[in-house]
């Protein structure tokens, strides 16, 4: 039987990978991909805690994960619409070049 710590460490690893990608990559869409990975890592945490919780009938972890999936989908849609609008204006998705408010 897999101990709870294994799931938590896997979730922490996924979160770290998502964070590294979101901070490192230049393309705006890949930053969004990193954010989605971080949200999914948190979902895994919730489900793992629900499975090993002393009161699983309350289903709190499941419901939270469901709502998180819904919210992440809405956020991905709006984020991608924003990226498309920015691309139309700047002709690039490179986050380092979208800086006309600087200086």
């Amino acid at each position: 039987m897999t101990p709870l710590a294994a799931y938590l460490i896997l979730s922490a690893l996924l979160f770290a990978v998502g964070l590294a990608g979101a901070l490192t990559r230049r393309n705006a869409i890949l930053v969004l991909v990193g954010i989605e990975l971080m949200l999914n890592a948190a979902n895994l945490n919730f489900i793992a805690f629900w499975r090993y919780s002393p009161n699983p009938e309350a289903l709190t972890g499941l419901i939270f994960a469901l709502f998180s999936i819904g919210i992440a989908a809405a956020e991905a849609a709006v984020g991608l619409a924003l990226i498309i609008a920015i691309y139309r204006h700047y002709q690039t998705t490179n986050v380092d070049e979208v800086n006309s408010m600087k200086g």
Partner: protein
């Protein structure tokens, strides 16, 4: 530890790293879809049937397709020869490693991981439905409103440029 968890965890982790590290953007998006599928497998293994299948339906079937469409609409042709990461990429990796270190330290020192393994709880769809309609009915209505607003907002944001150009 059972081998199902190992296989699923390995697939998920490898595809997550691939999603962030591959050079071609479409490969990143497809690796992300594989990571979502691996996570759905992990949810099913943990006994959360509804959430695992909803993960496949929403993330693999909709969010991954959305990301792929956005990649198609924002074709960046010159990206093949440029460096992968922004100039400050070592700092980004260091921050991520620090975050991972902090999380692992918190996990290993917490009393929660001492919990005993119990038999598979039953999160049947009927129970989820009852909970959504009794304890969580307000978040349910709010998320319906949120999804409607996000839908309308995304359509408006993505189409505004056409009108302002005329």
């Amino acid at each position: 530890m059972d081998w199902a968890f190992f296989i699923l965890a390995a697939v998920t982790l490898a595809s997550a790293v691939g999603a962030m590290a591959l050079r071609r953007l479409v490969h990143c998006a497809l690796a992300l879809a594989l990571a979502f599928a691996g996570l759905a497998g992990l949810y099913l293994q943990l006994g959360a049937q509804f959430v695992g299948l909803a993960q496949v339906l929403v993330y693999v079937g909709a969010v991954a397709v959305l990301i792929v469409f956005a990649l198609m609409l924002t074709r960046n042709v010159a990206a093949a020869t440029q460096p992968l990461g922004s100039p400050s990429w070592p700092l980004g990796l260091a921050v991520a490693a620090l975050a991972f270190g902090a999380l692992v330290a918190a996990i290993l020192s917490s009393p929660a991981i001492q919990r005993p393994v119990r038999e598979l709880p039953s999160g049947t769809v009927q129970q989820i439905g009852i909970r959504l309609m009794t304890d969580f009915v307000l978040p349910l209505e709010v998320i319906a409103l949120l999804l409607t607003v996000a839908l309308i907002g995304a359509v408006i944001i993505a189409m505004q440029e056409e009108r302002s150009r005329e």
